[in-house]
């Protein structure tokens, strides 16, 4: 099964640089030849104040407040490395809601 790195592209996250982050992640993932990973946009995870937000699925790993200096570690995770624990700061009830939505196929 493919893995997804879903990067929020709604107003707030975009204003915090999520468009550039998504582009950078796409380039890096392609350069590394991670064919099973698709970096794509997501409409909103409902944690706008914590943005930019991204969720790695089906890993169910949520990274918030991502900066370009975090990209190395995130790409390492996508390549099979460890989760980037310092970017995991979202309320568990919101995580639960979003993960369930993703499980039902709402992409």
């Amino acid at each position: 099964m493919n893995r997804f790195c879903l990067v929020c592209q709604n107003v707030d996250c975009k204003s915090r640089g999520s468009e550039e982050l998504m582009k950078e992640l796409q380039d890096r993932v392609a350069a590394k030849g991670l064919d099973d990973v698709e970096v794509r946009s997501y409409m909103c995870f409902g944690a706008c104040q914590e943005g930019p937000n991204m969720v790695v699925y089906p890993d169910k790993c949520w990274y918030a407040g991502v900066k370009s200096e975090d990209v190395d570690d995130i790409v390492a995770h996508l390549a099979g490395g460890p989760h980037v624990d310092r970017l995991d700061k979202i309320d568990p009830s919101l995580k639960e809601l979003i993960y369930q939505l993703l499980d039902t196929g709402v992409f």
Partner: protein
């Protein structure tokens, strides 16, 4: 049938100053010095009038709260933003009964001791704007507003403001922002406008239809007003029927009138005598009712107990063969587009509901997916500055309950 606003309960064309005066119009205003603000408030409180903009807050209470605020000046705002899809009642009132409306605004302004009242009118409403403008001039010339009204020592200025036609611009605090010259964005509440409204001052913001009820109540008394409607929901309400009915239009009916009377006697049933599948009795943010509910009385409490709401009286009827899902998609799409984007939770919820409905429409519905609607709605409930975030919930959740088959996959 006799109405409170429309003498015969139906629209009969533009009522000019003379015609309005001949049925007792402006009588209280021309004797304003004989009443105290408290007299007017007591009468409105005794009438049991509740706001007609959708929330149903007791109007007398709102007047009293505004008058009590020590800070000055006080303001009145007539909210004629009317951006609810299918709602025409405020437009129809402004176009046809502008003097009735001004009479009520002047009395309300006196009751809260406001020095200025703003008439906030949807900018697409050309005829309504014209009718109100003419009425304002006539009423001014007759001395019903301006300096020292009828020798009472009370002075009032009336000003028209064009309202943007997006949905949130009709929200009371967004109206205040527009009048202050800003973008139509709702404010966080509290503070409520009664204590901190226009320019930070105590402000009475009322829907057009609510204000239209004030003059008849003051002129003819609370007891007469209560002879219409039910004990808990006294008076009448204007209901709007859409083009799916034989006789679309607006009808003023006593609250508590059975839904069947509105749809069959007034509206003549669905076009071509088609059978009813579902009814949204209070606009796109109300819950669905079934044909079994046709004998429900149209009042705040009865509709709430039936899992719906009276809202602003916009009634939409679906027939056999109409898709509830398509209707939900239109509603969800509308609220997603009209969300102003200030509140993250609202943005997430409205977008997510559209995404979920799309999945169902594509034939990918299943029980797990259906469950997500309630979860998304519950998670976000009340998390916005304004009530838009709570709007798509009732139609969607009632549809999940009443029409589960429409949510299953192909």
């Amino acid at each position: 049938m006799e109405g409170i606003l429309f003498p015969r309960g139906v629209v009969e064309g533009l009522e000019g100053l003379d015609a309005y005066r001949s049925r007792g119009g402006y009588d209280a205003v021309s004797r304003l010095g004989e009443f105290s603000p408290q007299d007017i408030i007591a009468t409105v409180e005794a009438s049991g009038l509740r706001g007609r903009g959708g929330a149903g807050f007791p109007t007398g209470r709102k007047l009293a709260l505004t008058l009590e605020c020590p800070e000055t000046p006080h303001y009145v705002v007539m909210n004629g933003g009317e951006d609810e899809p299918g709602s025409h009642k405020d437009r129809v009132l402004m176009e046809n009964l502008p003097h009735l409306l001004l009479d009520g605004i002047i009395l309300a302004a006196y009751a809260v001791q406001a020095e200025k009242a703003y008439l906030y009118i949807n900018h697409n409403y050309e005829a309504a704007t014209g009718a109100v403008e003419t009425a304002l001039r006539e009423a001014r010339e007759a001395g019903y507003w301006g300096e020292d009204i009828a020798g009472s020592g009370f002075s009032l200025e009336l000003v028209m403001v064009a309202a943007p036609s997006n949905y949130v611009a009709g929200e009371d605090t967004a109206a205040l922002e527009v009048i202050e010259g800003k973008e139509p964005l709702p404010r966080q509440k509290p503070p409520f406008p009664v204590t901190e409204g226009l320019f930070g001052k105590p402000s009475l913001v009322n829907n057009v239809e609510t204000l239209a009820n004030i003059a008849p109540i003051v002129a003819r008394g609370a007891e007469w007003f209560r002879s219409f409607g039910t004990a808990e929901s006294p008076g009448t309400m204007i209901f709007s029927l859409g083009d799916e009915m034989e006789r679309p239009g607006v009808y003023e009916l006593p609250l508590g009138t059975p839904l069947r009377h509105l749809l069959e006697e007034c509206g003549g049933g669905l076009k071509g005598g088609k059978p009813i599948k579902a009814i949204l009795p209070g606009g796109p943010s109300s819950g669905f009712l079934l044909p079994d509910n046709l004998d429900l009385p149209l009042d705040h409490d009865a509709l709430r107990e039936a899992g719906s709401s009276i809202g602003c009286g916009v009634v939409k009827v679906l027939t056999e063969g109409d898709s509830v899902l398509d209707e939900l998609m239109r509603i969800a799409d509308f609220f997603a587009k009209e969300s102003c984007g200030q509140c993250p939770a609202c943005r997430m919820e409205t977008n997510m509901l559209v995404a979920l409905l799309k999945k169902v429409q594509q034939g990918e519905g299943n029980d797990a997916l259906t469950e997500q609607f309630g979860k998304v709605i519950a998670f976000n409930k009340g998390k916005g500055f304004c009530s838009l975030i709570n709007m798509p919930g009732p139609p969607i959740e009632s549809a999940v309950r009443l029409f589960p088959e429409e949510f299953r996959g192909a």
